[in-house]
């Protein structure tokens, strides 16, 4: 690995200028004669990719379109495809659910299966793809590989390690990786091998976020530097240190960064130092902590606040990011913004096809996806699997297994077997009749609707569901055929992104702000139970220190640090007890209010941890007047 001489590692904290460094480096490479097509920029998420391309377009408009910006996972998948692998597509969570259901074997307990999976993932992370010795572990592993092969899928956990193990030939002269701290060791190996001459890595050495890479967090900056002894290291000065040294030139967002730093480290000493140095004015209002009376008041109040910011010219709608704790909040925020005549684009972390496929509510969405996938490719075995199993209590595992065995006895692949059933229902044993009837139903659906596009297609596929069941309105342009629709759903299952219209307010998860640099960040629902989530509290309501808390603290701090001009942290005081319980909000105490029992709620633990750096809370109603 360590054969390069042109490795550059640029590291620093949030807003220290790492991405700016990468952009200037791209320009520098082009100035020295490198063709823009030979440069690849890699980011952990699709949102960060688009944001990088937009920034590059502002800095170097003439070449921006020719410089490729891709997600790390896409690069890994391409690498595996180039290596000639038969499995080239990442399994969506929906598909993985069916793989796990099919993995259940008679005689092998659930605990053994789970244990075996854990061991398999650990081996993959080490680059060990050999089969284990005899025993139940080997049996489960063989079954897993067979299932993945028959569906043509890659498990999310194996993508980066497999890519790293491929004999890769360099694809680009220069590869530049942003936010490398969020990637795994295997991914970095694969990316480095893609670079012929220049490999540049930007690393935030203070806050890393999990969730962009299944194996993330297994390599530290120090270890990376040790492995690359010849690397050129660029240490960007810490933002807060620079502000403390030159308070007169401290940027306007110093308080925001100090607040984020205080949250990340649960220590406000840096903030105090900056105040003493005069880098943060005592009446600085770039960080605002709002308190609403109830959760119902929050979306309307925040929408009113954003409306006034837009009207006053504080920011364009596209420069405002509203971080929401969950889907319910996202939908409420978008509705509230619409009521104030503001368009919003939403991208949350959850996958388009989600929930328990055995339950009717979620099964409808699974079937919608299966319909689209079957129209795109009638030989998609996984689509047939979902078409058959969604909505059944055991996901139709028993008959599906019988079908697999019958196709094996007939020496047919599953796709061929399905085709045969479609042609002749009597070809299979009578015990498989319900399955055959379902296949016939699917085939007639394909015949009726093949070739549909755009609105007709979505109406057919999503019939009986909500208008936009997968929240894809922002990315669908209304002309897609089935194959394109399925590609969009699959892409969104890995990394959702926004449409980046300057007139659209961005509504996304706390984590989704990574890679962006909005002027205003509004963090809604900053409550105990949301962030940190209920899993971070014990039954007595005491906080549980651990990796889950650290991870969420990092997400909270990273979201806060991204604001360039204004950070609004929004909380609320009380909620109906039933609602609070349903949402998982942490109750400090309860009381009766107007005849109803209400829970008095606790704002996010992370705000308290920020100590002096946290501003005093203000009434939301008073603030938006």
């Amino acid at each position: 690995m360590d054969t390069y001489s042109n490795i550059t590692v640029v590291h620093g904290g949030a807003s220290s200028g790492k991405t700016t460094f990468l952009i200037s480096h791209v320009k520098e490479l082009i100035d020295t004669g490198m063709a823009p097509e030979n440069i690849l920029v890699v980011t952990p998420s699709l949102t960060a990719c688009r944001a990088f391309s937009l920034r590059l377009a502002q800095e170097a408009p003439e070449v921006a379109e020719r410089v490729a910006a891709r997600t790390a996972q896409d690069v890994c998948l391409d690498t595996i495809a180039q290596g000639g692998g038969t499995r080239t597509r990442r399994a969506m969570a929906a598909e993985w659910t069916f793989v796990l259901a099919d993995l259940r074997s008679p005689g092998v307990g659930g605990a053994t299966t789970r244990c075996c999976l854990g061991e398999t993932f650990a081996r993959w992370r080490r680059g060990d793809f050999s089969l284990p010795d005899e025993g139940p572990h080997r049996h489960v592993r063989e079954r897993l590989e067979k299932l993945l092969a028959q569906y043509g899928l890659l498990a999310p956990q194996e993508i980066a390690p497999r890519a790293a193990c491929e004999s890769i030939t360099a694809t680009h002269a220069a590869v530049l990786v942003d936010d490398a701290q969020n990637l795994s060791r295997a991914t970095l190996v694969a990316l480095e091998a893609s670079a012929a001459h220049e490999f540049v890595v930007a690393w935030n050495d203070q806050v890393s976020l999990k969730g962009f890479d299944e194996c993330a967090g297994d390599i530290s900056l120090q270890e990376f530097l040790e492995k690359h002894g010849s690397a050129k290291v660029v240490s960007l000065p810490a933002f807060l240190d620079a502000a403390a040294e030159n308070p007169a030139t401290a940027p306007a967002d110093t308080h925001i960064k100090a607040f984020a730093h205080a949250v990340a480290h649960a220590d406000c000493a840096a903030y105090d130092r900056l105040c003493d140095a005069g880098a943060i004015a005592f009446d600085d209002e770039s960080v605002v902590l709002l308190k609403w009376r109830t959760p119902d008041d929050e979306p309307n109040g925040i929408a009113k606040l954003i409306r006034s910011m837009v009207d006053e010219g504080t920011a364009l709608p596209g420069e405002i990011y509203v971080a929401v704790p969950n889907r319910t909040w996202g939908i409420a925020m978008r509705r509230a913004l619409t009521r104030r005549w503001l368009d919003a684009t939403m991208a949350l972390d959850d996958e388009p096809v989600r929930g328990n496929p055995a339950k009717p509510a979620a099964a409808a969405a699974y079937l919608a996806y299966a319909k689209a996938a079957l129209l795109a490719d009638a030989h998609d075995v996984m689509a047939w699997r979902i078409w058959w199993g969604a909505g059944q209590p055991d996901l139709g595992t028993g008959l599906w297994r019988a079908f697999e065995e019958w196709s094996k006895s007939e020496s047919l692949s599953l796709a061929e077997a399905i085709e045969r059933i479609a042609q002749d229902m009597t070809a299979i044993p009578a015990s498989l009749a319900p399955f055959a009837a379902r296949v016939q139903e699917g085939m007639s659906f394909i015949e009726r609707n093949s070739g549909l596009k755009g609105f007709s297609l979505t109406q057919t596929v999503f019939s009986g569901l909500a208008d936009d069941p997968f929240d894809l309105d922002d990315v669908l342009n209304g002309t897609e055929d089935a194959a394109q629709l399925v590609t969009i759903i699959r892409e969104a299952s890995y990394s959702r992104t926004f449409d980046f219209d300057p007139n659209h307010v961005l509504v996304g998860s706390y984590r989704g702000v990574a890679g962006l640099s909005p002027r205003v960040v509004v963090m809604t629902g900053a409550m105990d139970g949301f962030i940190p989530s209920t899993t971070c509290f014990d039954s007595n309501g005491a906080i549980i220190e651990g990796s889950a808390l650290d991870n969420q603290r990092a997400i909270f701090a990273a979201a806060a640090s991204k604001a360039r001009g204004k950070l609004v942290v929004s909380t609320f005081q009380r909620a109906d007890q039933d609602l609070a319980c349903k949402l998982g909000l942490r109750e400090r105490r309860s009381r009766v209010d107007a005849g109803k029992r209400v829970s008095m709620l606790s704002r996010s633990h992370f705000i308290e941890d920020a100590g002096n750096a946290a501003p005093g809370s203000q009434s939301g109603e008073q603030y938006v007047q």
Partner: protein, 394 residues
Amino acid sequence: MAPLDSMFGMLDKIKSADISVYQQRCVAVRNRNASCMRCAQACTSGAISYDDNQLIIEPDKCIGCGTCATMCPTCALEAHRPNDAELQRAVLAAAQKNGGVAVIACRQIVDAAGNMLDASKVVAVECLGRIEESLITACAVAGVSKVMLVQGACAECDHAVGLETAQAVCDTANELLRVWDCPMRAKIADRFPRDVRAPEGRAYDEVRRNFFFKVKDESKRIASTVVDETLKEELGEKEPEEPRFIKVMDDGTLPHFIPDRRERLLDNLAALGEPSDELIDVRLWGHVVIDPDICNSCRMCATFCPTGALRKFDEEDGTFGVDHYPGDCVKCRCCEDICPTKALKVYDEVLTVDILNGGVERNEMRKPDINYESPKKGMFAMRKLLGFDEVYER
């Protein structure tokens, strides 16, 4: 020389670095007929004034003692650096090191004690007036056995009112702790307990140094603000003025706010368990009684109540009036001051069970004698109702 109005503008700009002012929470700002001036009365350095419907703090006079913030019933003034959360954290950490006894002392006596104190066991505050009930009850919840507020030469100090405030806070906290059957008590002491003496060779210089830096920075900050403001004046960069009037919400009342301190105090009391069922007379809660015979049903009390302790209700059967939630009352006496017919009185005694459980008292009112048939008639009726002529049709 700068014109006088310009100087006033500058004074408004130069707020204290140690105290944040939230104008919209101040009852005197919300309604000019409110008589509350507890902050200004508590501030013996004369840093606080009320002018042109605004609360103003003159930073060159403010010593950052935080007494005004303790006295303010609506937390329109908030002390920071340390803020309440940070101070509480420091006090609990010090108490843990000191065997469960929290020792908080006036900065002057800490400085005077010099190297004799163990800095990790004592928390120094500018003035004991900074301490309030939520901090003391938080100590009780955390299992602290005793809270000692060590006074210096407070009786001779220019800011002696801080000691009086601290005594009132201790009395209130001790009364609450008694009612909640908690053995911990807070008391004001003349000298440090033996346990906080420093081991040989440990100095307290660090704290002292910080204090001096703070003073220096304060002067620098004021100077830079004056220069900045003057330059802006010269360059014609006039910042837009903040709105001077607070708007009513959809329900016709001004926005409400329950201060964080009050919420923390209630949380702490809830954590201590159930109180004994009795009437208590403390500085924090009041009990509103409305005389229905005198009341003219204007419901201005609910409109201006800063915390929503008085809330309007309008039932479908036509009954209407004001609900009173004693637990949310902060005894600012705004309602009493502004009642046009003096039908409302705030009593000092409240039932302990009402404090936490959201007890409510319904005050039904008679239909007001207002003719809404035309705007003109409504205007004259409102003039009559409110007792003054400055009501206009719009």
